[in-house]
């Protein structure tokens, strides 16, 4: 689709890309409509990803991983899932690989790593991260879930909402207050697993989009969490979140461009087939200008992503850069999907058209992983430093 040659990938990356494309065509696309009805992907799909070695590729060999420290592979997985237009899988699988897994890898105790990482690699354990609460989203410091040190364990109480992968999750990284009197410094992170007594889940939400995503509420009632399930140090949870959120926001940005490209490609095909006033609507100047605007901006977005992926491989993407990417690229996705609906006319509002789904799926991208308003705050903080 692009005239600019992409330069960050080598032959192995391209082989991996082709494998992922083949995997998606065989194991994801044929099932996505059914998953949208079920409000979740199948557990089997997670196992198949694991069997093919596509989960947690950066995990150390001692836990059964491949120890691949090359973020370009992670980026290709996100990109190809996005290009397939299967939005639920495009959000859920990378969340496990690139957002939850790093918390356990970077801050988990050796016992916790040994207990959870092999299952996360094989797809037997699905993971989620729980920060948002009914009364605390952007204002993360205001969370009310508590973790009380009982000597030989922590006792966790509270609830979380809008948890991506929540319903299927076996392992959840939970933010809770270990010292409610303190703000950010009172937050710690814990690994909870679904078998712990007192840990329960709501049903998947009825959402505007991302219908194959099992987003739900989580409830904790006197959940006894072993001491080894604390991530890092007590009171440092907020710091860890700020560190890891950069990658989360970058992932959202990468998915945004790929999902927008998917909507754009289906629109390119549609405008050449659809006739009005005796000619294809791609012959009208308005259509041509809109296609050119979208094509140019998507190309720019793709180049921007490649540059960020390259920088991130060298650990040079800071939180403000990731915030810029998340803000700009999700706004781009929403604009592109809206324009694509317009070019489809009435059919663009029909659910069976991929572009209608793309439009509905796009909207939340500006909200989760930190709202775009919070992204702007993080960007400007750096500018005014």
């Amino acid at each position: 689709m692009y005239s600019v040659i992409r330069t960050i990938f080598n032959e192995e990356h391209e082989m991996f890309r082709q494998s992922i494309k083949d995997f998606i065509a065989k194991e994801i696309t044929p099932y996505n409509a059914e998953w949208e009805k079920n409000k979740m992907v199948s557990r089997e799909s997670w196992k198949k990803l694991g069997d093919n070695g596509f989960l947690c590729i950066q995990a150390p060999e001692q836990f059964g991983g491949l120890n691949i420290q090359d973020f370009r592979y992670n980026a290709i997985l996100v990109e190809e899932l996005g290009l397939s237009g299967c939005s639920g899988p495009a959000i859920g699988y990378p969340l496990h690989n690139d957002i939850v897994f790093p918390y356990i890898l970077h801050y988990g105790t050796e016992e916790a790593k040994a207990k959870y990482i092999p299952g996360m690699i094989s797809g037997d354990l699905i993971s989620a991260v729980a920060m948002t609460e009914p009364g605390a989203g952007s204002d993360l410091q205001a969370i009310r879930s508590t973790a009380v040190d009982m000597g030989d364990h922590y006792l966790i109480n509270g609830s979380k909402t809008f948890i991506t992968n929540g319903y299927l999750a076996d392992v959840v990284v939970v933010a809770a207050k270990t010292d409610p009197k303190l703000g950010a410094k009172g937050i710690s992170l814990f690994i909870l697993d679904k078998n712990m007594e007192g840990f329960s889940k709501g049903v998947p939400f009825e959402k505007v989009g991302l219908h194959a995503q099992d987003t739900c509420e989580l409830f904790f009632e006197d959940v006894r969490v072993p001491k080894e399930n604390l991530l890092g140090k007590v009171g440092e949870g907020f710091k860890y979140l700020m560190t890891e959120l950069a990658q989360e926001r970058l992932i959202v940005g990468l998915a945004a461009v790929a999902l927008a490209e998917s909507a754009f490609l289906s629109t390119l095909e549609y405008v050449q087939q659809r006739k009005a006033f005796g000619k294809s609507i791609s012959d009208f100047q308005n259509t041509r200008f809109k296609l050119a605007e979208m094509g140019a901006k998507l190309e720019q977005g793709r180049m921007y992503c490649d540059q960020l992926v390259s920088l991130h491989n060298d650990k040079k993407v800071d939180p403000a850069m990731a915030s810029s990417a998340k803000y700009l690229l999700t706004e781009l996705q929403c604009w592109v999907s809206d324009e694509c609906v317009q070019l489809h006319g009435g059919y663009g509002y029909m659910w069976e058209y991929p572009v209608a789904r793309a439009f509905a799926d796009a909207r939340v991208q500006r909200i989760y992983a930190g709202t775009n308003e919070i992204m702007k705050e993080l960007i400007v903080r750096k500018l005014l430093k």
Partner: protein, 245 residues
Amino acid sequence: MKILVCITHVPDTTSKIQFTENNTKFDKSGVQFIIGPYDDYALARAVELKEQLGASLTVLNVGEAETEPTLRKALAIGADDAIRVNAFPSDSHFVATQIAAIAKENNYDLIMMGRESIDFNGGMVHGMVGELLGIPSVSPVMKLEVDGEIVKMAREIEGGKEYLEAKLPLVAGCQEPIAEWKIPNMRGIMSARTKPLQVKEAISEENATEVTAYQLPPAKGAVKLVDKDNVEELVRLLKNEAKVL
């Protein structure tokens, strides 16, 4: 046991086919290349046999340097090593001669390939290789089991199947459902780069045929919709315009 799988490097089935140089050359620009789908079935079955029998598995392609990513993919799927005969695969006889020369050097027990390539669709190479080596060649093979020195196969024939046995060594031209296509997994992709890929010069051989021109099928016409109650009009169109009645 030594297995050789011969693979072709062919345009993806969704590629837009165009010709250049006065319709005498295939235009490769913008085309993505893949392992020939029938060869992919042969490779998948060979990987299963390798695991089942502890066999060695070599993949071979007759092609220029651009085909190496395709060979690397075969290594990622499970082949142990690869050979590229450095030559443009100009016709079936030329390719079969190259394969036979490599096979004579290495004494493979089983030589597998697709029933035909999907670019020029000659479907002749497996037969020629068998002839050049003086061993049986069977195609299209839908099922293949190895029991000691005996190979048990099912072959597609008009309106049914034929079950047959032959002694090793043997050439098999394969098709589905001999095995399910394999997608290279992450471990396979990472190990492919370190597996040996040997480049050999082609033995001198003249083409038996020469392509003088290619022609694309005529473009499909527009669809005509006929009212469901107007059968007479449908018959008239099928008779006079489509000329199929």
